[in-house]
Amino acid sequence: MKDKQTDYYVKDVQVPETPAPKKAPKAWGKTEIVGKPIPRIDAYERASGTAVYPSDLTLPHMLYGAILRCPHPSAVVKSIETADAEKMTGVRAIISGASSEAQLNWPYSPDVRTRLFDPRCRFEGEAIAAVAAETPYQAWDAVRAIRVEYEILPFVADERDALKPGAASVQDGGNTAKKDMYARGNVDKGFAEADAVIEETYRTACELHTTMELHGCVAGWDGDALTIWESTQGVYSVQSRVAEVLGLPLSKVRVIGHYVGGAFGSKLQPGKYTIIATLLAKKTGRPVKMFLSREETFLAVGNRPPAVMKLKAGVKKDGTLTALSFSATGSGGAYPAGGTSLLDWLIRDLYTCPNVRTETTDVYINAGPARPFRAPGHPQCSWALEQMLDALAEKINMDPVELRLRNIPVFSQAREGKPPYTSTGLRECLEKGAEAFGWKEIRKKIRETGTDGNVRRGVGVAAALWFAGGGGPPSTIILKLFSDGSVNLNMGASDIGTGTKTVMALVVAEELGVKPDLIQIEYADTGTTQYATPSGGSKTVPTESPAVRDAAINVKRQLLSMAAEDLKTDVSDLTFRDGEIVSVRDPSKKVRITGISTLRKRGVVVGVGYRGPNPAGKVVNPFAAQFCEVEVNRRTGEVRIVRFLGAHDSGRVMDRLTFDCQVFGGITMGIGLAMMETRVLDKKQTGKMVNKNWHDYKIPTSMDVPADMVSAPVELPDPAANTVGAKGLGEPVTIPTAPAVANAICNATGLRITDTPMSPSRLIRRLAERKEG
């Protein structure tokens, strides 16, 4: 696989290069501050309510925008009548496909472009017209008063129907969006060598991101200069896309995205709504706040594509995997949107297996285009592969942990040249996780309890790796050390809630001995901060921390040469110690940093840091294993998740508090995939989504997760990966969760549930079928 595909978070974005750092410093050994449980440095703003999210912004003279969306999954707009709406109280502008200012193209992909308001609507929720008014109530009144005549067309709403004969064509040229194949070894030979072969079909339902903060922005013009406050993971990717669509120089588009209320991949790029806000602002000469309604976000701002996965696997009695054959269909919706992106990666690369064949087909359906969703493809593939491993273990009568341990990879089998991993913590994740969980003891206890009673306990395990997570260039950091020793850190990256700002402050604190609360951070603003790729792919910590460290070292170097003048000695004789610069030869010669005369004169030292390249010929991946215990009520089909443990190898733990919080969050989201989340399209009659709200589309609440969640990091600092030794964490934490639950339910009931969500109704049906059978 080419590396280009690795960087889904910069898909279709031109990424500039940054110079390499002068000299790579030695990797950290033991750290003083990094790795401690330190509260996030912006917790005050988030807990007090003073953090200003884009949706909180109110500008003088600001209007509110609202978008009219197509109510049909497939239709052509025949006519739009806006005259009545334009006369309504408070309405200041209406734009539609007929407006001269809206004659723009929208790039759904580099190859597939539509008009901004295209008369051909291929999914429910496609934008048709938009209003700006004095209040959001008035804007919505006007949206409802716009009369649209549609020609309703046939649709297809299920990926399993898309390639059937007679299925409605979503795009000209049929419903196959993309087909990928991969093979190594000879699977037929592999299956012939196996002592046990199992074949099974799995399905994961389509999931929605449903971030807490709605998608949207505030946009305003000063003459020909545009400023956008966008709820986003990456201000630079918003800037480049908006500049491209509007035909503006980059310097005329300033994007600010300080706080973002959840993203999970759905805010890597701007949306049509961003462009629409800028057009309404231009037309009215007033700033426009354009935030979508909750219902709109269920339709038009991305999803985790549904996947149907057929997996055949062979294993020897000793646990050696001999062959994996995988064929899957997914759908990125109505436009090219990565419906099968990375869907087979775990099959190819998680376990040692000489004979592998995969085939994935991305099909078009009349539904909203997908956007990357936390570890694209991986939770789906994990759902199939990790349940399969469990079934194989049972068949050869081996402990499921043991079976996984027998197949630990030492190099990446699916990448060209079979490069080694910088570190592979999979074995440690499984072994230490099992130990901390009490895996053997609880399995034994459950076996001995027998099969009586309606409430049965079960335990399950699943493992994972994440395809990316090593980070890499570009990144540029500017660090300013003031004469009183406090610091300003300037970076372009967003903190999407993972604790980026906090981790970077800890890196500075570690290098310069400055207290974290004396570090001011300026970030995520194309007008004032340096270029950064969007915060996605679990790559922000491993990308930005080494650049921050490089900037801090740069500052240190300058301080040393300034101090050398004061102390009348050579730079090579000086070292940092507790906020002082001390002579090695004569420790009585020393100066406090704040006492350095040049620093006092200049008032500030500016250091620039760059992210160096990743090690050549090696792969940086995080690894994981999760364990869970469940209680299944065999009368009601209800499952109570009793406890969960996540053992994660993400290299060095940068902040124990935010690390653990990330693990809990990933597990919680995985419980959503396992137990409740599913987009329901009325595939027979209307093709419309029937659960576009949080009442009907359930996500985990406080009642659905166990209070007993444990994060047991497998801390293996990875000096070969980068100069801080950290790997990504945000995505691996959610990959193995759902199959771990499924395996636990199987352990409790003997039932293999192959489809998500494992709702009580699905479970009770399966239990009843078994009774009858």
């Binding site: 917790a43 991101h209 807490m212 909750r294 999407i496 985990p700 406080s702 009642m703």
Partner: protein, 207 residues
């Protein structure tokens, strides 16, 4: 919608019963339709856009302002008065991002009309601060990292504050249940539980 006032006592001049009768339960949606509320103090029918004078008590301060009868308390707090700590998540009573205290009870500001809130005591997350210092519940959230993106955090904080005002020593189960009306998509629930427990302790100390 819990019944907070006896019929006929609504300070805005509308009888609550007649108001509900004409507007229906989905007040925000219905007010935009042809069922119009009676104008304050008369039999005349007010349109949904007719500005009405109200006084709101927010964080102990009185705010007099003109509102459309259909405006939610959430809209007025955020877009008219600048209390943006109260977040907007769904505007349909599902997520709890807009949780405020109304007479000490956690309520969804998106499901409360601004005119309904007249005569009550509204507390937002800003009202829990001691000047520039965090209140005990907020401090507990900080210490236990009970947040990621932070967008649901003010609502979670208000839910915990409301819980502790009613029940100063909640059990773990009561905490879980007390927070069940507030979604956190980042999934920080285990830390929120810990923060709630810690907050109970901090509040005792503060007394």
């Amino acid at each position: 919608m819990k019944k907070k006032q006896k019929d006929g006592e609504c300070k805005c001049g509308l009888s609550r019963r007649s108001f509900l009768k004409t507007v229906g339960v989905g007040a925000v949606a219905a007010a935009a339709s042809s069922h119009l509320p009676a104008k304050a103090g008369s039999d005349e029918v007010a349109t949904h856009e007719e500005m009405t004078k109200i006084t709101l008590n927010i964080n102990g301060r009185r705010h007099r302002l003109l509102v459309e009868p259909r405006w939610s308390l959430l809209f007025v707090l955020r877009e008219r008065l600048g209390f943006t700590g109260t977040k907007v998540g769904c505007e349909r009573g599902e997520c709890g991002s807009c949780t405020v205290l109304i007479d000490n009870l956690p309520r969804y500001a998106c499901m409360t009309l601004a005119i309904e809130a007249e005569g009550t005591k509204v507390v937002t997350v800003e009202g829990l601060m001691n000047g520039e210092d965090l209140g005990p519940v907020q401090q507990a959230f900080l210490e236990h990292d009970a947040m990621q993106c932070g967008y649901c955090t003010p609502g979670q904080v208000m839910a915990v504050e409301g819980l502790l005002r009613a029940n100063p020593d909640p059990s773990p189960e009561e905490i879980q249940r007390g927070l069940s009306g507030n979604l956190c998509r980042c999934g920080t629930y285990p830390n929120i539980f810990r923060a709630a427990k810690r907050a109970a302790g901090l509040r005792h100390k503060a007394r």
